[in-house]
């Protein structure tokens, strides 16, 4: 009897493990395919062989500039920002136990944006300063929101409301800065309203790449603890999770990633919000979905950028496309959450 149970538990567990591996690999393949398309497509379409030779450092007439200087940084910006938004968003959603509580809604990306825009327009600062400022902006926003919502008793509802209030203020700041920044041309300004991969350069990408590469393993290591946190503060503690330390590490690393991504591409709408639920749907519950969520983020950003570049007569920045793609899902999610009465 017991043995049957053991076998059946083993069986369903292995099934899900297989599903996890298959889904993750498929997502990785899709991301890879999108990366290749990003490099191949453009005003001139270069064959895979040319692209490959450029990547290997060979000089190919025409292709070297288009692929190496323009398309490659654009693609890399999409990959790393997509991963940062996807994974970071998933962590926030899981930790706050509310799919709507993501960095876009509670003002964290607005904090990073505001700091970055300030540095660009008022201080005319360079990449390093912008990166540092956007990280500080993001972290400061988190601290303020957390501090204000702690009050007599911490509650997630309060945190969300306060975050929305802070968001409103920061958006006003960004709007004002964009207004006084007359000398900046409008398309560049639009990046800070909706996110765009336009004009990504190798040297501006570096901070984001470094941070994502450093913090991803840390996040993956703490993924198991995140699963336990899902059961609530008390259950997690009694399972041996140091909840305060875990939360701190998870928040700091995901905010770092999100802030740098925001500084590089602007707040790409809804990626942080969509990736987690999509990954969860694909993989199923019971696993830490940080990696799949990051991969979904990459796919979303790259696919949306391709659509924005080539599907219409006008070129749209990636944030507009993700915004429009994300909208129906957001509405669906709101309706479902309200029906279930989880709020």
């Amino acid at each position: 009897m017991i043995n049957d149970t053991i076998l059946s538990i083993m069986d369903s567990r292995q099934k899900r493990q297989r599903r996890f591996i298959i889904v993750t690999s498929v997502l990785a393949l899709i991301s890879l395919a999108l990366c290749c398309s990003m490099l191949m497509l453009g005003n001139t379409i270069y064959p895979v062989a040319d692209v490959f030779r450029v990547l290997m450092g060979e000089e190919v007439k025409g292709a070297s500039f288009a692929v190496g200087t323009i398309r490659l940084p654009r693609m890399l910006a999409g990959v790393f920002a997509g991963f940062a938004f996807g994974a970071g968003g998933y962590i926030f959603q899981t930790m706050l136990r509310n799919p709507l509580a993501n960095p876009n809604v509670i003002g964290i990306t607005a904090g990073s944006s505001a700091a970055a825009v300030f540095c660009i327009i008022v201080l005319q600062a360079g990449t390093t300063v912008i990166s540092i400022a956007s990280v500080i902006g993001g972290l400061a926003t988190v601290l303020v929101i957390y501090g204000l919502s702690k009050g007599s008793s911490f509650s997630i509802g309060r945190l969300i409301l306060i975050g929305i209030g802070i968001q409103a203020m920061l958006t006003a700041v960004i709007n004002y800065l964009l207004l006084i920044g007359q000398e900046n041309d409008l398309p560049a300004a639009m990046r800070w309203l909706s996110g765009s991969l336009n004009g990504a350069k190798m040297e501006t990408l570096l901070p984001l790449v470094v941070i994502v590469l450093i913090f991803t393993p840390i996040l993956l290591f703490f993924g198991k603890r995140l699963e336990m946190l899902e059961l609530g503060e008390q259950a997690a503690t009694s399972l041996g999770v140091d909840t305060n330390k875990t939360r701190l590490i998870l928040i700091v690393s995901s905010v770092l990633m999100i802030a740098l991504a925001t500084a590089t591409t602007g707040p790409i709408a809804f990626v942080a919000f969509l990736s987690g639920p999509i990954a969860k749907r694909l993989v199923g519950v019971g696993y830490s979905n940080i990696l799949p969520a990051g991969l979904v983020g990459i796919s979303l950003v790259l696919a949306s950028d391709l659509i924005g570049q080539f599907a219409f007569v006008a070129r749209y920045p990636v944030g507009v496309i993700t915004g429009i793609l994300g909208a129906p899902y957001l509405i669906y999610l709101l309706i479902r959450i309200n029906r279930k009465g989880d709020l």
């Binding site: 009897m1 017991i2 149970t5 053991i6 059946s8 538990i9 083993m10 369903s12 567990r13 136990r97 007599s152 290591f221 198991k224 699963e227 336990m228 899902e230 059961l231 609530g232 503060e233 008390q234 259950a235 503690t237 009694s238 399972l239 041996g240 999770v241 140091d242 969860k280 199923g284 519950v285 019971g286």
Partner: protein, 277 residues
């Protein structure tokens, strides 16, 4: 049989924010027994349980397991000896029964090691004890309150701790399920010698199922001992401000509390109860 542990709280004071709820409580949990903490609402029984299970940090005093202060034991190590089922844990959306029970194995895992045979055995056994094997692949959302509570207890069992704390495990359940769960916990104690400490609302069920009772009043320990030593009409009057008569439970030999209100009293006056006219 589970090994014997000494688990002690020495003069702990604790509370939330600035409000002190527990005043200078010292208790020693009897090993391999079922202990039940009773008291009126707001007397601090849940707070005491949470403080002992390191969910609340005491402002003064010390809690020790086998002579070692619990905050000096690494969290995962402690979680292999001491488990707690909180009053209202959160169900992650869409999780299956076997999955949730499996999360109880977290403290036994190390970074590199995946699931071993021992983990599967522990989960299967826990589900067997709580009689939820048939639900293994079901979604928790589909279960009734009583079944759900059994799943949570199974998760705590899969943790395979020697000591198990439960915060009101029978609240909101029908009387049938209350008895069922208490019976299962008693099985667990008899079969494995697991030390069980819980907070219960119902005095009569506490008196029947406890080996040892701690009675709390306004954040202080007022009595402890076997049910028949502790449950007296004067204690009930003290902690619940209720007149009552304590009789022998017709089913078991434990004491049973029969409350006395202002109405429906037989004309014969009962000595313990000065009827106010």
């Amino acid at each position: 049989m589970k090994p014997t542990h000494t688990f002690q709280a020495e003069s702990i004071t604790a509370g939330y924010d600035k409000k002190t709820i527990l005043h200078d409580i010292s208790i020693a949990i009897p090993s391999n027994k079922i202990s039940i903490i009773i008291g009126a609402n707001g007397c601090g029984k849940s707070t005491l349980l949470k403080t002992m299970a390191r969910l609340i940090k005491p402002t003064s005093g010390q809690i020790s397991l086998d002579g070692k202060p619990i905050h000096k034991i690494p969290p995962k190590h402690l979680a292999r000896v001491l488990g707690l089922l909180p009053q209202s844990p959160i169900v992650p959306e869409g999780i299956t029964v076997a999955d949730l029970v499996g999360r109880g194995r977290f403290p036994h895992h190390t970074f590199m090691k995946g699931w071993s045979k021992k983990d599967y055995e522990a989960v299967a056994e826990a589900m067997d004890i709580m009689n939820i094997t048939e639900f293994a692949d079901r979604n928790i959302d589909e279960l009734s309150g009583g079944q759900r509570q059994r799943v949570w207890i199974a998760m705590a069992l899969a943790q395979q701790t020697d000591i198990l704390f439960l915060d009101e495990p029978t609240t909101y359940l029908d009387i049938t399920y209350q008895v069922e769960i208490l019976d299962m916990l008693t099985d667990l104690n008899r079969k494995y010698g697991t030390t069980i400490v819980m907070v219960l609302h119902d005095i009569n069920l506490s008196a029947r199922y406890a080996d040892h009772i701690f009675a709390l009043n306004k954040g202080k320990l007022v009595a402890e001992g076997t049910p028949s030593e502790v449950i007296t009409s004067s204690l009930i009057k003290d902690i619940f401000n209720l007149n009552c008569k304590v009789i022998e439970d017709p089913v078991s030999d434990s004491p049973s509390v029969v409350p006395i209100g202002r109405h429906h009293n037989k004309s014969i006056s009962i000595s313990e109860n000065p009827v106010i006219v």
